[in-house]
């Protein structure tokens, strides 16, 4: 890195922060009220009631560290508007409340910015280009800091993913820097902030076991069983147990652990969210629907026996499939497990250092996104962000990244449905997509094209799809009868792309040859 070359990083970080400030008056979703409610709960009630309080329908369903985080925020919030801290003030949103909540997201994002900074340091500058716009670190910083998904989910839709992803990226960076204990500590803390990250825990577990607990490898890269270090295992175990004790301990003492667990894992919700996340189950549901219609047309099915529940139109509810067998939570769990397994094996038997770890991390995240129970479309960010780290290192990953990021981000569009936010989401999406395509293309301009013609056609067709869903469809008479059609089209079309990216990444990881010469560490 040239001296003073960090100026651009500051500019990028400040630039995006000020853009975030401009988004303060934008639309926010019910998640805004969720977090306001949690502020109120943690501020007013004793610890013993945090996970029992149910005045609002948005009960506390994040792990204890997040509750403590809200507790800390509430002590600043009282200077903005004490009224927001009253539990009974449902849907309270004064100007000061909005300002405070938005600013809290913007300020906690500093952790994310720091994590991106650390990640950029981990990138080896082999391709150090003269032109700053073609430096891998610069491209990575833009891809992460200006990530479309994070911007709209956190700063328009309203959530606190920024600093949580910051924790994750920071732990990834620490692992890359071989500061394993720090990395493990950060990840353990992260898990107790938001338990969705448990999806990627297998990657962390296996990687730490393989490269930290076993201190040496054989010459051919296979495991040297005798190098097992009890000290390292104890240290890791100690960290995990301490963090868990700090988080769950008080509730264990109060005897509330079952209640906390019940709140954290609500299996009563349906297979899919009200809007289908673009995963395997979206395709499954679509096939079921198609078969139903086909069956009714050909009189294979009796129309009176079919339950009348439209899946994308209504609220979160359990749904009975008509033709295909219904899916139980256990089935999704098994599917997820099976899907994750090969990637974990790959990490164990073909260790490739931090790169292999990142690949496994992305595959874990994607597999659980594909097969998980009640997956939210926002969970795709869990795969997109770590994949950005890979995308700037190899042309093959860059191609997969472009497909996954574009379709994944596109599938976030239904999150913002209000007219004033339509231009902003389209402009931001275009901005990010044009940048990611042109920068990665120029980074790998000496290699073969990143996308083949089929993939290009697939991505280009997102444009007519968007035009149809947002502009043409509302003008047609079908809007009254089939209001769910745009959502269904979007989620099924994106599911195809995400499935394709998942398969492609899996195949590329499994077929990759380990360089014999290279040692795991």
């Amino acid at each position: 890195m040239a001296a003073g070359g960090r100026g651009w990083f500051r500019a990028l970080a400040l630039g995006v922060s000020f853009l975030k400030c401009l988004l303060i008056p934008a639309y926010y979703s019910t998640d805004f009220e969720v977090h306001r409610n949690w502020l109120a709960i943690t501020h007013n009630l004793p610890l013993s009631q945090w996970y029992y309080e149910a005045t609002s329908e948005w009960t506390l369903d994040y792990p204890p560290f997040f509750a403590w985080f809200e507790y800390a925020l509430s002590h600043i919030a009282k200077y903005f508007d004490p009224q927001m801290l009253v539990v009974e003030n449902l849907n309270y949103a004064s100007r000061a409340t909005v300002l405070f909540q938005r600013l809290s997201v913007i300020f906690t994002d500093t952790l994310f910015i720091y994590a991106v900074h650390e990640c950029c340091k981990c990138i080896n500058g082999k391709r150090a280009a003269k032109d700053i716009l073609e430096k891998p670190t610069f491209i990575l910083a833009v891809l992460l800091l200006w990530n479309f998904g994070l911007l709209i989910v956190d700063h328009i839709h309203f959530q606190y993913n920024g600093f949580l992803f910051g924790l994750m990226l920071l732990s990834v960076a620490r692992l890359c820097q071989k500061r394993y204990l720090e990395g493990a500590l950060l990840f353990a803390v992260l898990l107790h902030f938001k338990h969705i990250y448990i999806y990627v825990a297998p990657a962390y577990g296996v990687y730490l076991l393989r490269s930290y607990c076993f201190t040496a490898n054989n010459a051919d890269g296979s495991l040297k069983w005798r190098s097992f270090s009890f000290l390292h295992v104890t240290l890791l175990g100690l960290i995990v147990c301490l963090v868990s004790a700090l988080s769950l301990g008080p509730f264990l003492v109060l005897g509330q652990l079952p209640q906390v667990i019940a709140r954290l894992f609500p299996f009563k919700r349906g297979l899919c969210h009200a809007y289908w996340a673009p995963n395997f189950w979206a395709l499954y549901n679509a096939v079921d629907k198609a078969l139903t219609i086909l069956g009714l047309k050909c009189n294979f099915l009796d129309g009176k026996k079919i339950p009348k529940a439209s899946m994308t139109g209504g609220l979160v509810q359990e749904f009975q499939h008509t033709v295909l067998p219904s899916v139980t939570p256990l089935a999704t769990l098994i599917c997820t497990f099976i899907a994750i397994l090969p990637s974990v094996f790959c990490l164990w038997f073909k260790p490739q250092g931090p790169r292999g770890f990142l690949q496994c991390l992305v595959l874990c995240a994607l597999s659980s996104f594909m097969f998980g129970w009640h997956v939210h479309e926002k969970a795709i960010l869990l795969a997109i962000l770590p994949l950005s780290l890979l995308s700037i290192q190899r042309a093959k990953d860059a191609g997969i990244y472009l497909i996954l990021a574009t379709t994944g981000h596109f599938s976030l569009f239904p999150l913002l449905f209000t007219p004033p936010e339509l231009p902003i989401k389209i402009l931001l999406m275009l901005l990010f997509t044009v940048y990611s395509f042109s920068s990665l293309k120029s980074l790998f301009r000496r290699e073969k094209p990143l996308l083949n013609w089929l993939e290009t056609i697939y991505l280009v067709q997102l444009v007519p799809l968007e035009i149809f869903c947002e502009i043409i469809f509302p003008l047609t008479p079908w809007k009254q009868h089939f209001p769910f059609v745009p959502l269904l089209l979007t989620s099924v079309y994106c599911a195809l792309g995400i499935t394709y990216a998942w398969l492609k990444l899996y195949i590329s990881v499994l077929t990759e040859r380990v360089p014999v010469r290279q040692k795991a560490e």
Binding site: G7, A11, C21, P25
Partner: protein, 516 residues
């Protein structure tokens, strides 16, 4: 990366910032009786759609001129008419005569914001892109970085997309005119400038350089041969385009006179409130408004403006060059802004846009001016949009360090501005608490520094600009020096009217007349 993808990213970024700003509030939102510029524009749509063209500028029972009477030239009125036509298609309540007064709703805000956005996208942005691509002797990256700087100039974005006005149309048309002139399409250029002039009379600030440049060009070609032909053609074009714009009003002389009276109201004071021009700054020492009669004020300001314009104009007529033309645009607009009668602070945009054109040649001075000028627009805008400046500043800082082909100027400003700017932004953010501090703070920047540079050297193009030893610290000092000046004498009558955004003030605010 390729030139085109870089430019696309720059434009998309500019558009994103524009729309993000427009999500915020507008002038006069929810302030009954007079509201603000937003209501003015809506009211003009109502008037132009419902009344016959002969009544647009007249005070009638249906058209109360005291309530946001139309006081811009015909093209603005036509634009309002077109917008009103679309508005009527969407929701007739928006432009219903009388009953729609003070109409505010979310869909309507969305509609109004869209009209500005579309106008900006159609007129101003393409002009900027083409202008930057037509810059000679610069690398592709430098062209894009100039485009980004111009497109992200916060002043214009805040006034148009935040406060609510359509300045980008008239400024964009003027930019088209500059663009045409730089390609030697003189006739097309003069048409574009006539359109700009007929959209907002404030464009008169730019008229002299256009006139002198074209005249000089005719002289250069020889007044007996080709020059005369060109002159005749130009005169014909100007007359024709004016005639086309004013055609519906040409039916009788009284119509035209009434429109002119509406455009140039000279019965106001020398200056209003806290405009950062010479008269306002002099009033800290001498109360000109109290000493001299309004008639004399008018004459005085006219004489001073004329004198300050003279050197640049003569120079341009004698030696017409494109570079000189751009500098003369800055210099003349600044003369008007500093010395002329009844200037409004938003008129600084008329100086800023030409400054944007020379950002490539004198990056340091230009950026400095643009920052100071934006800073002064603050009283119009909510403080939470302060961050917009910083966005731009960052972009410039970023581009300033993006390689060896950038001049050291830009690098210096990218780094140095931080400290001084932090102070500035802090004060600006406290805007509502100290209503009079922000504009006055801004004034030393432009009223003292700017004339020193532009007026002191009216012909900056005759010699290379001296290497100004400005660094971040020096600017920080100049900023500090200016602090004592910002405290107005509490009893001063000039600051009595400084209660921000009272209805009457905001009504007068948007009216501006150049030399009467």
């Amino acid at each position: 990366m390729e030139k085109w993808s870089l430019m696309t990213i720059a434009v998309l970024l500019a558009l994103t910032v524009r729309w993000a700003v427009s999500l915020g509030s507008y002038s006069g939102a929810g302030k009954p009786r007079m509201y603000g510029d937003y209501e003015a524009q809506r009211h003009w749509q109502e008037i132009t759609y419902n009344l016959p063209i002969r009544q647009w500028y007249f005070n009638t029972s249906d058209n109360n001129l005291l309530y946001w009477g139309l006081d811009y030239p015909p093209l603005t009125a036509y634009h309002s008419f077109v917008c009103a036509y679309i508005a009527k298609l969407i929701n007739p309540d928006w432009v219903a005569l009388h009953t729609s007064r003070g109409y505010e709703s979310r869909p309507h805000k969305l509609f109004m914001r869209t009209t500005v956005f579309v106008a900006d996208l159609l007129v101003y942005i393409p002009a900027v892109i083409l202008y930057c691509f037509s810059l000679k002797e610069t690398s592709a990256k430098k062209k894009v970085s100039s485009a980004l700087c111009i497109l992200l100039y916060p002043g214009l974005i805040l006034i148009d997309h935040g406060h609510f006005q359509y300045n980008s149309v008239s400024l964009g048309l003027a930019l088209w005119a500059v663009l045409c002139l730089s390609h030697d399409w003189d006739l097309l250029g003069s048409v574009a400038f006539c359109l700009a002039l007929n959209y907002k009379q404030m464009e008169l600030y730019h008229s002299l350089p256009f006139f002198c440049y074209l005249l000089g060009k005719c002289f250069k070609k020889g007044l007996k041969g080709k020059g005369l032909v060109l002159l005749a053609k130009l005169a014909g074009t100007v007359l024709l385009s004016f005639a086309a714009c004013w055609l519906p009003f040409g039916t009788d002389v009284e119509q035209i006179m009434q429109v002119l009276r509406r455009l140039f109201p000279i019965d106001r004071g020398l200056f209003e409130d806290k405009v950062a021009n010479i008269w306002c700054s002099l009033s800290v020492l001498i109360k000109i408004k109290n000493v001299i009669s309004p008639r004399t004020q008018l004459k005085l300001s006219f004489a001073v403006t004329f004198l300050s314009l003279l050197p640049a104009c003569i120079k341009l007529t004698v030696q017409p060059s494109l570079r000189g033309f751009k500098f003369a645009l800055v210099s003349c607009a600044l003369s008007f802004f500093l010395f002329s009668f009844q200037v409004h602070e938003k008129s600084i945009l008329l100086v800023s846009v030409p400054v944007c054109l020379v950002i490539n040649e004198i990056p340091f001075m230009a950026t400095w001016f643009l920052l100071v000028s934006t800073f002064r627009i603050f009283p119009c805008r909510a403080p939470e949009q302060a961050e917009l400046h910083q966005t731009k500043e960052n972009m410039e800082g970023l581009l300033g360090e993006d390689g060896s082909d950038q001049s050291s100027w830009k690098r210096a400003q990218g780094r140095g501005a931080g400290g001084a700017w932090a102070v500035a932004e802090g004060v600006a953010a406290a805007g509502p608490a100290f209503p009079s501090s922000a504009p006055i703070l801004g004034f030393p920047g432009s009223a003292l520094a700017a004339p020193e540079r532009w007026q002191g050297h009216p012909c900056p193009w005759t010699r290379p600009l001296p290497a100004l030893p400005h660094t971040g610290t020096e600017r920080a000092q100049s900023c500090q020096v200016s602090f004592p000046l910002q405290v107005p004498p509490p009893s001063s009558p000039n600051f009595d009217c400084s209660k921000t955004c009272t209805d009457l003030k905001s009504q007068r605010e948007k009216k501006c007349s150049p030399v009467g």
